[in-house]
């Protein structure tokens, strides 16, 4: 018998097989860094999925397992917390799920409190708090192997009787390491108890203090040899947290990550885009009606391809992020960067997402998940697209090589390289400026989140856990971003393809499309920027991916020659545009929200249209202002 623990009504509209809806729910709760996620991975394996809680940016991780007694159990991995007092949206989710307040979700039949066996002190206080919730609690002392190796002895039986909850040990990273926990689940779920009524309320300082004292008393009672700093961690931190050496090491690590995302991904990305081009050509040659062929080739296949091509970057980036996180280094990186980033109103952890945005804002924005605080995370998402991504490079290169003379200045620097550097620097400075303003504009009323976090002991990451983490994120990216991005791509295709060119048309087909109409219509608006209607038209397919604008310019100026036409385009442009126009277009490209995929990812990651709109309009305003300034100043100096 399953007991009568299933008092909660089955959730309405939750995805998943019917049979799993009646399965008892076990919630994993614990301090950050207690090895909870590794335990979750060990328990559920690949039978897990990552989604978002409705309306918030918090990751919702659920999975399934079958206990030795054959009981199907749903497991929810909740964000790490020190208390149910909920200081962030993540911790609110933990609190609401534990208390059964989340309407769209089931309430847990059993709370498994996961604790790092070598760092029990803060976890015990959390257990004392969880006991007041009125649901059955099970304490799992995780990473028992590490604790034993360090000579920490814990009397499990004594702890269980002192706490009044069952205590088991677990080693998430070892085969069979969860056996005791699974048996514990069977015992706890098999019992016909539903716990008492909840008398939990947000504890005040006095209650917290009392609970911590009680936890300390228990600790002295059941644990021997706790409290010493892990010698390996102490040795590593002597270098890694050294004020100077630590920053040098951090920069070296960041350089490797940047290199990897930027360079290692390249061959794979080329391969993917070749496969899609080949597939597109295959469809292009198929005996289909012209319009259907164009839709499949330029709309669907090119659209899907433009999403999938980011996958290698995302996988590589998340490999490093999860690796650094599992190692315990991420908290140290935040420690080292806190002061530098804090000056601009950014969190120390924003460094990695912003750095990866130099490759592409999409993995960068996804990587902001390492930032716990919602406001810090939103600020980082807002400024990430200002980092000069690799898709801007073809556009920059085209314009610079066509308009900026290739000569040396000051005896050592190439002028073209200097302009390129200036474009990168403008993006960075703008990002710092925008985050500075956003912090004051959007969250002025709220107190700044203080920097307070635990620096966990270093741990050797587990390949399986790493692989599962990357897999879940890659899948989530393809599934969620794919749908939104694809629909945007199709929209852009429609704009650039309809209405179709009349019979015997002499101009390129795009000249007859909605894109051209829009290009002409907004010409009065872009004239102060020095943009002609041809540029306006090129900017629209450029929304699909910035570099597409290069090809689009080629199409509009009727230059054939396909891929290798960039040089020819440059020559034509040099004859058609003034220097002021070219510089204004560069300035525009530094700031403009010229990437539908990025906007779609912002929409997905923030769970709101609002932040997508905020990003779009502030970037548009910056781009317009910058291009206007550049064009007017350049024209005044006679560069027209």
């Amino acid at each position: 018998m399953n007991g009568v623990v299933d008092l909660a009504p089955p959730p309405a509209g939750t995805a998943g097989p019917l049979s799993s809806l009646s399965a008892p729910v076990v919630a994993l709760v614990g301090n950050p860094n207690c090895g909870k996620t590794a335990l979750f991975n060990a328990l559920t394996g690949s039978r897990q999925k990552v989604a978002n809680y409705p309306g918030v940016t918090v990751e919702k991780k659920t999975g399934q397992l079958t206990t030795p007694a054959g009981r199907a159990v749903r497991v929810v991995d909740l964000p790490g917390t020190y208390s149910l007092r909920a200081r962030s949206p993540d911790e609110e989710i933990t609190r609401d799920v534990v208390l059964g307040r989340l309407a769209s979700d089931v309430s847990p039949d059993l709370i498994v409190c996961v604790a790092d066996a070598s760092n029990l002190r803060l976890a015990l206080r959390l257990v004392l708090e969880l006991k007041r919730v009125g649901r059955p609690v099970l304490l799992s002392l995780n990473m028992m192997d590490i604790a034993r190796k360090r000579g920490i002895e814990i009397d499990l039986e004594k702890l269980a009787s002192a706490l009044g909850v069952p205590v088991v040990s677990s080693i998430a990273v070892r085969r069979g390491g969860t056996d005791e926990l699974l048996a514990g689940l069977d015992r706890a779920l098999g019992r016909d108890v539903t716990g008492g009524p909840s008398d939990w309320h947000a504890p005040d300082a006095r209650e917290l203090r009392r609970a911590q004292r009680e936890a300390d008393r228990l600790l002295r009672l059941v644990v021997q040899n706790e409290g010493r700093l892990d010698p390996g961690t102490a040795r590593a931190d002597a270098i890694l947290l050294h004020p100077v050496a630590g920053i040098v090491v951090l920069l070296a690590i960041l350089f490797v990550v940047f290199q990897a995302v930027f360079a290692w991904a390249r061959p794979l990305m080329d391969l993917i885009s070749e496969v899609f081009t080949w597939f597109g050509a295959l469809v292009g040659a198929a005996p289909l009606p012209e319009i259907l062929r164009s839709f499949l080739k330029d709309g669907v296949i090119a659209g899907v391809g433009s999403v999938v091509v980011f996958l290698p970057q995302i996988v590589i980036l998340f490999f490093f992020i999860l690796l650094l996180e599992d190692l315990g280094y991420m908290a140290r990186a935040a420690f080292l960067m806190d002061k530098i980033m804090g000056g601009a109103g950014l969190h120390g952890r924003a460094f990695i997402p912003l750095l990866s945005s130099f490759a592409c804002a999409i993995p960068g924005i996804m990587a902001t998940r390492v930032i716990d605080d919602r406001r810090d995370r939103l600020t980082t998402i807002l400024v990430a697209p200002l980092m000069t991504c690799s898709a801007r490079i073809p556009v920059y290169t085209l314009i610079i090589s066509a308009f900026v003379p290739d000569r040396e200045v000051w005896g050592f620097a190439g002028l073209q390289g200097l302009v390129m550097f200036g474009l990168y620097a403008s993006g960075i400075l703008a990002a710092l400026g925008v985050s500075f303003v956003a912090k004051r504009l959007f969250w002025r009323s709220e107190a700044g989140e203080p920097f307070m976090l635990e620096l966990p002991d270093y741990k050797i990451p587990q390949l399986k856990s790493l692989a599962l983490g990357i897999w879940a994120r890659a899948l989530a990216f393809l599934k969620r971003a794919g749908t939104t991005i694809l629909s945007m791509m199709i929209l852009i295709w429609v704009l650039a393809s309809f209405p179709m060119a009349p019979q015997g048309a002499t101009e390129p087909a795009i000249d007859y499309s909605f894109a051209a109409m829009i290009g002409h219509a907004i010409e009065p608006l872009t004239r102060p920027l020095g943009f002609n209607w041809q540029i306006n038209v090129a900017l629209i397919p450029g929304m699909a991916a910035r570099e597409v604008a290069v090809g689009a310019l080629g199409t509009i100026y009727s230059i054939d020659g396909g891929e290798s036409a960039a040089e020819k385009i440059g020559q034509v442009l040099a004859g058609q545009w003034s220097l002021a126009t070219a510089l204004a277009l560069l300035a525009w490209y530094v700031f403009a929200p010229q990437c539908a995929s990025t906007l779609a990812v912002i929409r997905r990651e923030t769970g709101s249209w609002k932040w997508m709109a905020v990003t779009f309009f502030y970037m548009l305003a910056l781009a317009y202002a910058a291009a206007l300034l550049v064009f007017q100043v350049a024209a005044a100096f006679g560069a027209s």
Partner: protein, 99 residues
């Protein structure tokens, strides 16, 4: 255990302590952390949740490059990173404990 008199003149706010400082927490006094990013009652609760309670042993392990901020503090069995302005609320006796 707590043989350090509260009136000891060797008390110091953790926010002012140098690297290598060892001591025992005597009190949490949020009034001393005026520059903190949180109201006093909330700061006090967060500090307690991270293990800063009276009687706990503390040691200042590391500090950042600029202005010696933030700091990494060993509190009993955990290592906590925080900024000095918030650490001003933690009053400790210097000299530390002999284990």
């Amino acid at each position: 255990m707590s043989d350090h008199p509260l009136t000891s003149d060797r008390t110091i706010a953790l926010g002012e302590a140098p690297v290598g400082f060892r001591g025992r927490i005597l009190a949490l006094d949020v009034d001393r952390a005026q520059g903190a990013g949180l109201p006093g009652h909330e700061l006090e609760r967060r500090l307690i949740e991270l293990g800063f309670v009276e009687g706990a042993d503390v040691e200042l392990l590391h500090q950042g490059l600029f202005g010696g901020d933030p700091i990494a503090v060993r509190v009993a069995a955990s290592t906590i990173a925080l900024r000095r302005r918030e650490a001003m609320a933690v009053v400790a006796s210097s000299g530390g404990s002999i284990p």
